[in-house]
């Protein structure tokens, strides 16, 4: 935590936003090719969410988290050895299509200029509202996993896990290994998901190792659940968190059975979606994915977007997991190096083949996994009184009411009832507002304009903005400079 802040040169060839697997691999590769790179990251240490705190793990944590996690260490060490200009604890609040970014670090905002911008903002857990989701004591599986990665903290009182997706099972496995008491696991996925996933199975089997690992994880959780007498309920619906000041009870149904647990912690997880706020603010074109039901940046294989200076690498473009993100980051680096003239066409070709091949192999099981863990059709069909927008306290019923009048564009819904108008700009409620509008109006999601994101994508104080060093450098002048060097 005491790494000195690197004095940043006024101009870089490339700015990489995010120091997860994609950002680390991309910047390391670029530096190796003689490209000057600045890496801006919100965390204090490189690694992103997936490899959080990876260089400071105790032997015990390493053992629990396993090989998949600790390979992140090599990635971080290579990044530190490459030594790009690294700006930790900094958040980008505006990305410009020309390749510049406005960022806030240590309470000060300034602008960085570069010829290319790589947005490797990663993924976030899909926020799904349900009654009581705002109660203290309700957190996401990812949040819990960050806790034990950083501090080794685990809950000492029984917890309930509820949701769907690989991370739910991974966190369950980790908690069992660390000896945390689990009162129950509530699996909210449907059999329908399994049925539609089956047709992707042949492709997925091309990556047998990966599939076996997933099955192994599930088997380990089932075994541990049996040993610990932890029930696993299937086809769980009607999840509800109850309590006054904080969580006291979790209720749900499984088939015809009513479930009730007296617990102080509920860990939820409903899959992972790309973190697109900065991408959308920058103006990257997006596409709708009907299986996973999210908007994602429309990128070429090398992460190229509709904006000539902007690339998106990693899960931020589409959620494919850490290993793929790393390869995507590398792939993007090769394309940018070629455009900057640091790789000849011949060199580029000789390098890109192996990366692309490995990436293809990595992506093979994804259609199966995406279908298997597709969000349940009625996932967002919450009761009218359920709060959807946490910032502004807007409930589901109000959103339905507006959508039924024919206003289905989340941007317009936002302007009318303030849903998504708070500091998070709909990051937490955007998915739900869209699904509620779809449910109430019958209009298909892809026909509806995606929620716009405006700078600053994370709030900054007025004092900081007033003092910000934002003097504009013409991006064209920057390019000319590049060519004459």
């Amino acid at each position: 935590m005491s790494r000195p802040m690197v004095e940043t040169k006024p101009k870089h060839d490339v700015i990489v936003v995010g120091a997860g697997p994609a950002g680390l691999a991309c910047s390391t590769e670029l530096v190796g090719l003689g490209v000057s790179v600045a890496v801006v990251d919100e965390q204090g240490e490189p690694g992103g969410n997936i490899y959080r705190n990876v260089t400071h793990l105790s032997a015990q944590q390493r053992k629990v988290l396993g090989l998949d996690y600790t390979i992140g260490r090599e990635l971080v060490e290579a990044f530190l050895a490459a030594a790009p200009d690294y700006l930790p604890r900094a958040h980008v609040w505006q990305a410009e299509a020309t390749g510049n970014v406005c960022l806030s670090q240590n309470g000060k905002s300034r602008k960085l200029h570069a010829a290319y911008l790589v947005l490797s903002t990663g993924a976030m857990e899909r926020p799904v509202p349900f009654p009581g989701w705002t109660l203290p004591g309700v957190m996401t599986c990812g949040g819990m996993s960050n806790l034990y990665k950083v501090s080794g903290l685990i809950p000492s009182d029984p917890v309930v896990l509820a949701g769907s997706g690989p991370l739910l099972w991974l966190v369950a496995e980790h908690l069992f290994v660390m000896g945390a008491p689990i009162a129950a696991i509530l699996d909210t996925s449907t059999r329908k998901g399994a049925a539609s996933a089956a047709r992707h199975l042949p492709g997925a089997l091309g990556r047998l190792g990966y599939m076996m690992k997933g099955l192994g994880m599930m088997a380990a959780v089932k075994r541990a659940a049996k040993e610990n007498k932890t029930p696993i309920y299937r086809d769980v619906k009607n999840l509800r968190a109850e309590g006054g000041e904080r969580l006291g009870k979790v209720r749900a149904t499984s088939g015809t059975q009513d479930l009730c647990f007296d617990v102080a912690t509920l860990l939820v997880h409903e899959g992972v979606i790309p973190e697109t706020a900065l991408l959308r603010q920058a103006g990257c074109a997006h596409r709708w994915n009907p299986v996973q039901r999210y908007w994602h940046a429309d990128v070429a294989a090398d992460g190229r977007t509709n904006l000539p200076s902007v690339f998106v690498a990693g899960d931020g473009a589409f959620v494919h997991g850490a290993k793929s993100a790393q390869l995507k980051g590398q792939r993007t680096a090769l394309s940018i190096a070629r455009e900057l003239g640091r790789l000849s066409e011949v060199e580029f070709r000789s390098r890109v083949g192996s990366v692309s091949k490995e990436l293809d192999k990595e992506l093979r099981p994804r259609p199966f996994i995406d279908a298997l863990y597709a969000p349940r059709g009625d996932l967002f069909h919450v009761a009218d009184d359920t709060i959807v927008c946490r910032c502004e306290g807007v409930a589901a019923g109000r959103i339905r009411e507006v959508a039924r009048t024919g206003v289905v564009d989340p941007n317009e819904i936002k302007s009318i009832i303030r849903c998504g108008m708070g500091p998070c700009q709909g990051r937490m409620c955007g998915s739900a507002v869209l699904e509620l509008a779809v449910e109430a109006s019958g209009v298909a999601a892809e026909q509806i304009r995606a929620l716009r994101q405006r700078p600053p994508i994370k709030p900054i104080s007025l004092e900081e903005l007033a003092a910000a060093d934002l003097d504009v450098v013409s991006p064209r002048a920057g390019r000319a400079d590049e060519e004459t060097r």
């Binding site: 302007s415 009318i416 709030p459 900054i460 007025l462 004092e463």
Partner: protein, 369 residues
């Protein structure tokens, strides 16, 4: 399709005109290339102010202010309107002299809506104001409203009254003949009408050019921002400056909406605006000079949308001198929101061949010639 009046632009001016026309027995079709309220109508700062308006606009603004109170009856929604006195600050004696002069001018015209405020009254209205402010001019009945809600309410009311509001119908071409106008939309269909209203906002210059009646309306991208909630800090009073560009609106929910003539660069043909954060940094500096306590307020969002601008900053409202039956209502230059209800009424009057209840001679389309 045929109608008495074809209206290009489904924003507030177009819909307000349509509503009044059908209420007086005329049929109308509104052609909207996107959806009502997509640009300036739905994304302005929401200021409903008489204070500080160009003297030429004051009679319209005063009528309009009365009509804002009638919105629940006229369009079925209060449009989110609430009163927030608008106080224009004098930061020095020179500013104060300007405000006194304006006050004198208004009084001589018989308008009493703006009142001079001394140091003490300024501090009563806005207790956190910086010490250097010497006085001001205040309009106690000004307020703000929700532009998107207003846009949707007007469009919905127009439709309810029988106006065809055609969203996603861009006007591809329009021509005038002895019998009226023929307008072709992006779906390939042609529509006919006896009169044509150009209420196309930032696109009004393009529409007027199609009819060989070019107007100097140019697109601009007014840029605004909003803070998180700072309850009580503004004391419900909205602020403006006299010698510098800043407008601060005290929304009922406790946020502060910031505008005042800031602009961003854009690519009009592709409808892209690149929000210029340096402009918002400038506004922030001014805000801290005026209300130092805003220091810790957080800026939540910048935004911008296209608007039609004219060099002399007052709109064009009137019949074309070149093309009979063509009526322009455009170029509101980023302060048309408050004028909407009154403009709808006078537009309908002139389209129906009546003389308008308020003189529009200052807004003639041919004044630039």
């Amino acid at each position: 399709m045929k109608a008495d009046v074809l209206i290009v632009g489904g924003g507030l001016m177009g819909c307000a005109t349509a509503i009044d026309l059908v209420r007086h027995g005329k049929s109308a079709i509104v052609f909207e290339k996107d959806v009502p309220g997509r640009h300036a109508s739905g994304h302005n700062s929401g200021g409903v102010r008489c204070q500080g308006r160009d003297i030429r606009e004051v009679p319209l603004a005063v009528l309009s202010r009365k009509l804002w109170d009638d919105h629940p009856d006229t369009v079925g929604s209060d449009c989110g309107f609430h009163v927030s006195p608008r106080l224009r600050l004098a930061e020095n004696d020179g500013d104060m002299a300007k405000l006194e002069k304006r006050h004198g001018e208004l009084s001589s015209m018989g308008f009493e809506h703006e009142v001079l405020a001394d140091r003490e009254e300024v501090r009563r209205l806005s207790p956190n104001i910086s010490r250097h402010v010497v006085g001001g001019l205040v309009c106690y009945t000004d307020g703000l409203a929700n532009p998107m809600l207003t846009s949707k309410a007007y469009a919905a009311k127009a439709e309810a009254l029988g106006v065809r509001v055609l969203s996603h119908h861009a006007t591809v071409s329009v021509s005038a003949s002895a019998n009226g106008f023929a307008l072709k939309t992006s779906d390939g269909k042609t529509h006919e009408g006896g009169a044509l209203v150009n209420a196309a906002g930032a696109w009004a210059g393009k529409i007027s050019a199609m009819l060989d009646d070019p107007l100097p309306v140019v697109p601009v991208a007014p840029t605004m921002m909003v803070t998180d909630r700072v309850p009580g800090l503004m004391n419900g009073t909205s602020l403006g400056l006299t010698g510098r560009a800043l407008g601060l609106m005290a929304a009922k929910n406790g946020t502060v909406i910031v505008g005042g003539g800031y602009r961003s660069p854009f690519d009009f043909d592709n409808e892209k605006i690149w929000i210029d954060s340096t402009q918002m940094a400038k506004a922030s500096k001014l805000m801290l000079e005026i209300l130092p306590k805003l220091r810790d307020a957080r800026v939540v969002r910048f935004w911008s949308a296209f608007e039609g601008n004219l060099a002399d900053k007052v709109p064009i409202i009137g019949e074309s001198t070149k093309v009979p039956g063509l009526f322009h209502v455009c170029g509101f230059s980023a302060h048309g929101f408050q004028l909407v209800p009154a403009v709808g009424r006078v537009m309908s009057q002139i389209v129906r061949g009546l003389s308008p209840e308020i003189s529009l001679s200052d807004f003639r389309p041919d004044r630039f010639a």
